[in-house]
């Protein structure tokens, strides 16, 4: 647990989109899925999860419908819309560029400065 990292601002949305892109999920499922795909490295602040889900829903990136959960309870399931899929692609690409750039910058030695 020592290796968990705080989420950078703005990345929660990206992670939610990614988690939902792997299959329709209810809110708690999204939380578990993010933990699972990040190898428990990324810890989502639970209190900010639902506001983020609702914000994405209002932006039309997620759609939501009520369904029945694995333990037979009524739960709200989120899925990715077409707009959400496009957004995920864009954000992933730009995140990767940024990450590569920062990694390159951090890898630079003193002689190059």
């Amino acid at each position: 647990m020592a290796s968990t990292a705080e989420l950078l601002p703005g990345t929660l949305d990206l992670l939610i989109l990614k988690a939902v892109s792997l299959g329709r999920q209810h809110g708690y499922g999204v939380l578990l899925r993010i933990g699972q795909i990040s190898g428990d490295a990324l810890q989502v602040e639970q209190g900010s999860l639902y506001p983020a889900l609702h914000r994405l829903e209002h932006q039309g990136l997620l759609d939501a419908e009520w369904g029945v959960s694995e333990n037979n309870r009524r739960a709200k399931f989120y899925g990715l819309t077409e707009a959400g899929r496009r957004r995920l692609e864009q954000e992933s690409a730009s995140w990767n560029r940024l990450a590569a750039a920062i990694a390159a910058a951090l890898a630079a030695g003193p002689q190059e400065a």
């Binding site: 209190g47 609702h54 959960s69 709200k76």
Partner: protein
Amino acid sequence: MRVRLRSFAKALFRGRRERADLADEIRFHLDCRAKDLEEAGVPREEARRRARVELGSAAAYVEQAREARGIRLFSELAQDLRYAARSVRRNPGFSAAVAATLALGIGANVAVFSVVNAVLLRPVGAPDADQVVVFGTAREGLPPSGGSPTRFNAWREMDDLFEDVSAYRYADMNLTGGAFPEQVRVGQVSAGYFRLFGLTVGRGRLFGPSEDLPGAGGYAVISDAFWERRFQRDTAVLGRALELGGEIHQILGVLAPGADGDAWNPVDVWIPFQIDPASMDQGHFFSVAGRIRPSVGQDLIERRLALASDAFAGKFPDIGGRLGGSRFVVRRIQTVVGGDAERPLLILTGAVAFVLLIACANVANLLLVRGVGRAREIAIRAAIGADRSRLVRQMLTENLALWLLGGALGVGLGLAGIRAVLAFDTGGLPRIGADGAAVSADWRVLLFAATVTLGTGLMFGIVPAWRAARPNLNAMLHAAGGVWQQIAGRRVDGKSVLVGAEVALALTLLVGAGLLIRTFVAMRSVDLGFEPRQALAIQLSLAGGKYQRTEAVTNLFEGSLERIRAIPGVAEAAAGCCLPTGGAPNASFTIEGREPDGAYPRANMPTVTPSYFDALGIPLVRGRFFGDHDRAGAPAVAIVSQALALRDWPNGDALGARVAIGPAAKANYLEIVGVVDDIRSPADGNPAPILYIPAAQNPDGATAYYVRQPTSWIIRTNGPPAALADRVRKELETTSGLPAVGMRSMREVVAESTRREDFNLLLMSLFAAVALLLAAVGTFGAMAYSVRQREREIGVRLALGATSGQIVRECTLRAMRPALAGLTVGVAASLGLARSLESLLFGVEPLDPAVFLAAPLALGSVALAAAWLPARRASRAAPSRALRCE
């Protein structure tokens, strides 16, 4: 954009459902988390606690939401209202301008609506008023006529469909004997009337069916107010005699205070109608109403009315029931209660709606401009996390607060204004009480005001709110960019649309008002066909009593006229049933040797003394006037007006033709001995077809019918008529033994007959002026603002060497574009409006060039001035100042 709108709508109307869903969602999360923790070995209670802690504030929030769903919405609303109040206080000038504009618009609507409400909407005071119907006979192309004794008898036979079918009419009668004579308002009603209109007796009893038969004797029921006024609530009044029009009526009871039936004015005395069930009288001179019995359907009523019409036409074949295509109809009493006041009221309603739309366009414009001014405030709030929908909601609340302020002021202004207008002149409107006392703020007026206020507030407040709350962060925070955008000329904004719409609305209203005002003016200058100057008119009620036969009336006429002519200063005196301004009965007649190809021809039929034409100055066209020898026993004669002669004798052979009064009449022919010039109604300017009958030759039955209305004397004087009024009145009262009332100069009579038109003219002009003022202020404000926004650009261009002439020209042209578009649309809309007003116009073409030129010119000049003045000022400013001032 669609998604945005949807989420916006959702945010705005976020309901209980969504809130409940959120609670369910959170509960599901907590349960799952607690279960997982339990499975990992955490004790149950601890697991639940920890799940809640992990979820943090969201959990607490939902707990709260579960206890008090929807409370947040209210607390936010309260917060928005506090903001709104603060913002109203912070910009007192702006708020006052907006509230005053809205108060004008809403006030005008409240004023007109409160009259519409009193005249048309206020329920008739009757139990189950929506089941009370008025009977009538409809002929093609004519408004349904009222009741005659024969028809009343036919209608009251349908008592399986209608209950309390009652005949009634209201008239002023002379009360003689007792302490002093006076004229009282009398309701002559059949016995069912009191039950029909829910009038109850407070003392004594009402008259019943047995007292409502011909020859049953005279009875009366008096109103509570009359009991108070005339008898000081003397309890011994029951059984006392009232001498009304010379006939004795025994007082049976006193009504409980309150209701008046459907009378326009309070009634003092009620007497039984006593219509003979076997009557053959075909004169229409009263109203008939009844209540539909429970569970009787409209189909059944119509079938039975059709049957009754046929039976009636079969029973009285010679009155041409079938020939005229007439049939019995019933109409809900509420739909006929406004009478002919309905149409002008609806036109005024339309006119004030325009005024309100213009006011709202002005305000929307102001709000848009202010929204731009507040862009930074909004941008900052959006940047620190204010929810978009929340911002829109808050701006909308602010706008609505302004509307509510304007609405509240408007209700006060409108009611005070209309009361002032009505106190000045009631315009002859029915049902509004003395000086408009019945025009008040009841729930319908308040509901109307609230609906109009909130409706226009939402309609015109939401776009500025939506625009102002647009979190266009970059553009706003780096605001200087706007100028370059403007120079590139890429601005089409809501303000241009509003300016255009406002100009279009104002033009349409101006054209409509212009056409109506020209109509009224044309009517005022119409040649009436008689000389109203230096003439007196006196009316005397001969109803009841000794003046039922022609001989008595002729003797009264001749005796009184002789005495009046003897007064120094009197040039001529005449008498007749009616004044030239109206009141003569309209009836059909038959022309000897002709079968009509449709309905029988109709005409107004006044009875007159021979001196009538000289006294009024009506010129003779052909033939002769009546003479003293045209009396009972002599050959029956008649005189027709030019309009009637042209209509029925287009070949000019009216003289010598013979006519008989009534459809399909084959006897009692009158020979036409003269044609006189037309009399035009001062109210609509049209010459009515008139058939004059010598009063001395009127059959007794007809005389009894004519004296149901006040009889008129007309006195032409050599000097000012008012000086002779008292002498004339005295002579008349001495000869007749009756009190004379309604002594007026003929000019007053003419003015009286155009009261309603004058009233409409006054209101129309008022609204047109308000509309023009609002449109001018609005256009001026919007244009001045759009030029001011470009001051920086202007400064740059001046600095770069543009001449101020170029700048002014170019600015003016650009600012005029929306106004010109508005004028074009307005002209098109006015053409449509003019067509639909056509039937109301007189003496002016619907496409009157003067109106269609003057209105666009006036508005165009206002717009031009509004564009040119600020442009000139901006072009004269030093470039450096303009550059510094962003």
